[in-house]
Symmetry: D2
Subunit: 384 residues, 4 copies
């Protein structure tokens, strides 16, 4: 089966040729640069999200989902890391001025290794961005940044990172910080349970000076919400890809494992489990797509910045993340039981899939945070 | 809040003025004709699904969902009964010849009380349509039908019903049977747990003669699958409407019930439950819409009959029904606990909502049937 | 199969002869006196819990569970109502003085219609007993009670009720109030969703005067906790009995319903569901028994009053209620799906079982209240 | 808090001093002999289950649960491995003759390093013991064994293993096979996801000759069922210990993590989660204890061999394993979400606990096998 969209088909071929079969290695926290990423860069498709007006491939978030599903089917760390490159780009696209876009968005079109990270989360603040402790003090034409960012996907490999910092009490802003700026330091590479093929780092800012022109427009929390409204559907799509991999590993097992003298695939309980998985995968895909389409429409609209200023992040994006995190975990949990003792051996892939899918529910806003947010902002009665 | 679509807004106003507040009466298995249905017919909007080429309003299944949600928010029996009118119409639209369409589809455009039922299910066969025992014997230019159809929504009120019958071993066909044909008898009105405002009947066919010209094209099972591919998204939307009603009843309670000296709405656990519900409602809506859009595209396509012949019913429709049945039950179950002892009193609405929503999971193919079907037909690995 | 314990066997025979087959009538909120209860009283086994030292049968709570399971298998309203007679008795046994025991506990041994109710819950206070609004003012040798008690099981049939009232801010006490005392009024019989065979009433106290000698010892909240520590295992056992009935109705259906040409009982998915139910029933019974045994040991101990003063209600009793409420609902929910459309008809028993079992999770402290309590009082790390 | 039972208290002290704090090392598949096990042996408490009549400590299975909970709280691999020593002992105790008991059970009392393993499972047969392919052919006074046993806990460290083998079609028997017998080979140490501190090996039997006197009495399947009836409650207790560890890690986090300016422990949702966990832990413990008590009573009874011949393994033991596997996974799953991003780091203990607890549901009969068994053997209606 080939995909009718030739670009998506390229990714399909890439996954088959450069990812499938290398999962154990990808799961071993390998050193970067990673051969498959170098290959994606070589093919010029690593930054698929750069808008056409800057010379990029111009794929929408909706189209990105198809890519992310395929990549995550192969390896979720890879999917998350590569797709994560679009996070800073989304922020700059909406909140950047012309010079910022020219210098920090456009280069990604011609240089497939050029991208940014996002550095928002801090240890004490956790999901409460308003408690951000990193400060940015204005000194003439510069800002002086100080703080410690707990987790920053891909910062160790990025050319710059977008940093959330407090310029005054209750006033958070975002700054473009080149990774080679003085005072920026990648402190530590996290050893995460899942997504081990990518690089989650702590980033320290110690008396880091940057020109004032690198401050992005808009309130910082809204900027993060806008960027995550683009990213969350893709995180959700990671869960879809992992879930499809679980299904396929089960199907393969069902075809050859014998139970009661017949292939397991003919057992009613096996069929019921796979049928339920299939329904859940279709559901996950539907919510992820809806969230992607909503973001794409906002960005294509007349004033995305104003939209996010008034409404905050999209409801559909948080729903997609929450539901895909829950259903993805349900599917992978079922998977860890499907193979009996075999699935308990480290050489089996199922636990990698389980560990990988957990990030959807945990990283960048856990389930409790999302539920509270949904109640606070999006629970509105129909007839009032 | 008003709906931008004036026709949907009509239904919104209808629900507010003719349904809300009458739930206890609607839940009492009232005699037909039902005042709210008469009102819908008076407004000329009861048969919204008649194609424009026959002079109807021509709403797609996708648009129907918005109506069904609103109706089900008010009363699910009403929603299901009215939307159920489109089931026979969908069958005739795809499998009828010109005369059949002229005589049994077109009249619904001008006569708001004109519609058909579907009579497929039998007691012993259950979900296994291939075990249908009703027979149709050809006698010259006529067919002679004999059998007992277990549940037929709205047959007691319909002008005709589409009957599934066996013309030879392994050969099922569908027939248009006028309700006033000799030998057709509505045997019994079921007292169902939910959906009590509508009429679920047993229909007996005893030596019932109809002209051979009333046989529809195509294999009977495919015809039923095609028709239910239109109906299942609407059944799923019923669950969405009921679920939204549960949410709104909870929100109202949370605003006034005091716990620990504060409104319950400020309690974290209450917020978490409502946030989860909200996410599930958004999810249910997404899968129902996806299923509706798929059906609409098939029907707008060049040869829907051929499509269903080759592919059977849509995967998205069974997924929508399964997932909305599961999440709808989860939401309503949570609801029955939300109000403490108050919710255990018959005067409270919550148990009506619980009873109503259960039909989504039970009627017309239960969860086990759907899971087995999904495994058998729709579980396909990505890389083969 | 007969029970080795002749008293339990009596109840088994009673259920078979006087309850099974009359469920529809019992579910119709029939008027009292109820024939089966009259029969139990005639046999002299309606008050099985009266201690032997007062001339009663002296069954422990642990032994009561076997009775309650059987009764609930037949009809949960009956089980709950009859077992609920022991609630006031448990309070008097622990907190009563000799005269109170002689006058309000001992008579239950000789008069099988003599028993008390408990009137604690109020509408606004809900589960927060400390917010009780009913007041008891001391006037010489009397107390003057005023208040409205929201739900009082069996008060309409009882000879007296134990009332929780505030004698001073923060000081709650319990009083024995004869039902024929002036100012006591059964205001309303609730129409509940489940347990329809019993009588849940609102009790109003309007300038009700009782002698001061009818005040029980101890703080009121502790007294209620002690009494519910006896009752909750029995409520949990109700869920066990209902769950066993669900299982048996399923087993019967599985034996005769055909699927794919074989009895449903041979289908793997059916077997898996029944196997899971069986495990859950065994679990429910285990937690209920543990809770009963703990209470029995406390009461047989040297100073039960002091025990409850120091420790409050037993942890095992709240756990039993919570877990049996959850698993009972899970089992009955599965049941409502098992029978397809058949189970959606009012003539089927499954929805009665579902409605009945819900009270375990809802009445007398909902799940949220219990979880909060477990965290606040009983979550203690092992190594400190 | 100290345990009133001095032997249990010894284990508590052992866990605190020799296990807590060494989890990362224990999770690294360390080489044996393992220091903590050597310490247990040094204290003479590693074989607590040897009957007093053979000079052992003579603890019942019920008492063993308290030990296993504590050990599993520290490290489940340790708990499982040490408790697993009792599996072969239980088989010999019930099915051994005097010489077998003298030579293979009694030595465990005086030599704390002396114990046996059980080698039943094969790859193709999986949970279907009747499909065992290992054969034992009688040659004069000897048996010649050939086969490959997939997983055998602790065989690499044991003095002997009890092997299930086919002596004729449909006739399975158990044999005591000294690990130093010719032809016995530990082929491979499995790298399991959890329980990494213990040794799961594949054992090959290649033309292995043993004296016929080492064949145990009884049918092989019954023998395995009897032995697992002793072991399964202990496996269930492992889940209890792990679950208590999850709870305590959560409690510790809740006390120090700040949310909204207050400790997380004061958040209602946190409290609700911990309250639910606590209820589940109490439930798990209740079912494990019930299963232990049932086994102990059978063994203390007049003829345990006959009991198992007639009834097979105990229902309570399979229920304990199933329910503790399910609730243990639920608790640990909740745990993996509780700590946000922190819990996703490999240095956090929560994933070790999740991986460890999974074995309860997977190893030695998965959930589907148990459910099918419960339906087939233990689902009996009350009134027949």
């Amino acid at each position: 089966m080939t995909d009718p969209n030739p670009l998506i088909e390229k990714f399909r071929v890439f996954v088959r040729e450069h990812v499938l079969g290398r999962e154990a290695w990808l799961d071993s926290s390998p050193e970067h640069p990673l051969a498959p990423i170098v290959e994606l860069e070589r093919q010029g498709i690593s930054n698929w999200w750069v808008p056409a007006m800057y010379g990029g491939l111009g794929l929408s978030v909706r189209e990105s989902l198809d890519i992310v599903e395929l990549l995550a089917y192969g390896d979720a760390g890879l999917a998350n890391g590569i797709a994560g490159r679009s996070l800073a780009a989304a922020a700059i696209r909406i909140y950047g001025d012309d010079a910022q876009k020219r210098n920090y968005l456009a280069p990604s079109a011609t240089d497939p290794t050029f991208f940014g990270a996002l550095s928002a989360t801090e240890e004490a603040a956790g999901s409460e961005l308003l408690r951000t402790a990193t400060v940015a003090r204005k000194l003439g034409n510069e800002y002086l940044l100080d703080g410690l960012k707990f987790v920053s996907t891909g910062a160790a490999l990025a050319k710059f990172t977008v940093v959330l910092a407090k310029v005054a009490e209750g006033d958070l802003r975002a700054f473009i910080v080149p990774m080679d700026a003085k005072g920026v330091k990648v402190v530590k590479r996290w050893r995460t349970e899942g997504l081990r093929s990518y690089v989650y780092s702590q980033v320290a800012l110690e008396r880091c000076r940057i020109p004032a022109s690198l401050m992005l427009r808009g309130q910082g929390v809204r900027l993060v919400e806008a960027a995550t409204s683009a990213m969350r559907p893709q995180i959700a799509a990671t869960a879809v890809g992992i879930g499809m991999r679980v299904r396929d590993v089960c199907l393969e097992y069902g075809a050859k494992k014998m139970l009661g003298g017949r292939p397991l695939a003919q057992n009613d309980v096996f069929a019921a489990k796979l049928g339920q998985m299939e329904a859940e995968l279709t559901t996950m895909r539907a919510v992820a797509r809806e969230a992607a389409v909503e973001f794409d429409e906002i960005v294509r609209g007349s004033d995305p910045e104003e939209h996010f200023r008034r409404h905050g992040g999209t409801k559909s994006a948080v729903v997609a993340k929450l539901i895909c995190g829950q259903l993805g975990w349900k599917i992978a949990s079922a998977g860890t039981e499907m193979f009996g003792g075999l699935g308990y051996m480290q050489e089996h892939i199922i636990w990698k899939l389980l560990r990988d899918v957990r990030h959807v529910a945990i990283l960048e806003a856990g389930e409790d945070v999302i539920r509270a947010l949904l109640h606070a902002r999006h629970c509105v009665p129909i007839f009032e």
